[in-house]
C-alpha cells in the first residue's frame, strides 16, 4: 500500500477534509470569494479569521436513509476545510457572508488606507 494511503487512513481529523473549489475576484474596494460547499447546511458552516488566516470549514449533512447501502461514492469525507492567507490591506474585521444553495459568498473589503485614491496630476 502506498505511503499516501496509509497517511490518509491515519490522518488526524484536521487533514481528513475535502478542499472546496473557490473563485476569488478582486475589484478596487475588496475581494469577493465564492466557495462550493454542497451538502453543508448553514448551521454547519464556520468562517473565522485568525491573525492573517481566513479559515473556511463546513460539515456535510446528507440525510440518507439509515438502511442505505453505499454502492458508489465520490464524496466520501464528511467535511470541507480550506485556509487562505489575507494580505495586510484586507480588513479581516469587516468580512460579510452570504450562503445559498451550497455556495458561500464572502466579501472582504480593503482597509480604508488601501482604498484607491485618484491622484490629480497638476499641470506645471
Amino acid at each position: 500500500m502506498s505511503e499516501k494511503f496509509i497517511k490518509r487512513e491515519n490522518a488526524s481529523e484536521e487533514s481528513a477534509a475535502m478542499r472546496p473549489a473557490v473563485n476569488v475576484v478582486e475589484d478596487a474596494t475588496g475581494i469577493t470569494l465564492y466557495a462550493d460547499l454542497p451538502g453543508v447546511p448553514k448551521e454547519k458552516l464556520s468562517i473565522h479569521v485568525e491573525g492573517d488566516n481566513l479559515i473556511l470549514e463546513g460539515e456535510l449533512e446528507i440525510n440518507s436513509p439509515p438502511n442505505m447501502e453505499a454502492i458508489h461514492a465520490e464524496v466520501d469525507l464528511s467535511r470541507y476545510r480550506r485556509v487562505f492567507t489575507l494580505s495586510r490591506e484586507l480588513d479581516g474585521d469587516k468580512v460579510s457572508a452570504g450562503f445559498r444553495h451550497g455556495v458561500l459568498e464572502l466579501r472582504i473589503p480593503k482597509a480604508e488606507h488601501a482604498q484607491p485614491r485618484r491622484i490629480v496630476v497638476q499641470a506645471t
Binding site: 475589484d27 442505505m68 451550497g102 455556495v103
Partner: protein
C-alpha cells in the same frame, strides 16, 4: 465521521484511484470522475442518488429516467465578475454537465422523486415491491 460510515471508501475504488493516478496516459476526458460528483446507494425499497451541484436552482436541472438509466443534466452558470475586476482563482465549474447512472432492473420509474437542498440534488427511484425480500413465516 458519520458520513464516512455511510459511504466507506472501499479498497477496490482506492486501488482504482491509485492506478489512475500512476497511469502515465490518463483518459482523454481527464482523471476527474466528472461534474457533478455523485454518490449512489440502495435500500430494499429505493435507489438513492446524490449529485453535488451547488449554486443551481431546482428548475435548472433536467432529471430523466429512461430505459433503466437515470440522466442528470443541466447548466451551471458562470460567476460573472464585475467590470474591471481581476479573477485570481477560478475553480468553480461552469457550463453544461451530464451524468448517467444505470439503475437496477427492478425499478419503478414512475415513482421517482427529486429534491434540491444545500446544493445537493437528491433523486430517489423506487424499486418494485416484488423485488423486496419478504420474511416467510415458518408454520
Amino acid at each position: 465521521m458519520h458520513y464516512r460510515g455511510i459511504f466507506p471508501r472501499d479498497l477496490f475504488s482506492e486501488l482504482e484511484r491509485l492506478q489512475r493516478e500512476f497511469d502515465g496516459s490518463p483518459s482523454i476526458r481527464g482523471a476527474a470522475p466528472g461534474y457533478p460528483a455523485m454518490n449512489v446507494g440502495t435500500t430494499p425499497k429505493s435507489v438513492e442518488v446524490y449529485a453535488f451541484a451547488p449554486g443551481m436552482t431546482p428548475e435548472e436541472f433536467d432529471v430523466q429516467v429512461e430505459n433503466g438509466v437515470l440522466t442528470i443534466s443541466g447548466e451551471c452558470k458562470d460567476i460573472v465578475p464585475p467590470e474591471g475586476a481581476t479573477i485570481h482563482i477560478g475553480e468553480h465549474f461552469s457550463g453544461r454537465f451530464r451524468r448517467v447512472v444505470s439503475l437496477p432492473d427492478d425499478i419503478e420509474p414512475n415513482s421517482t422523486t427529486a429534491s434540491y437542498r444545500d446544493g445537493v440534488l437528491h433523486v430517489c427511484v423506487a424499486r418494485r415491491e416484488a423485488a423486496q425480500s419478504r420474511r416467510i413465516s415458518v408454520q
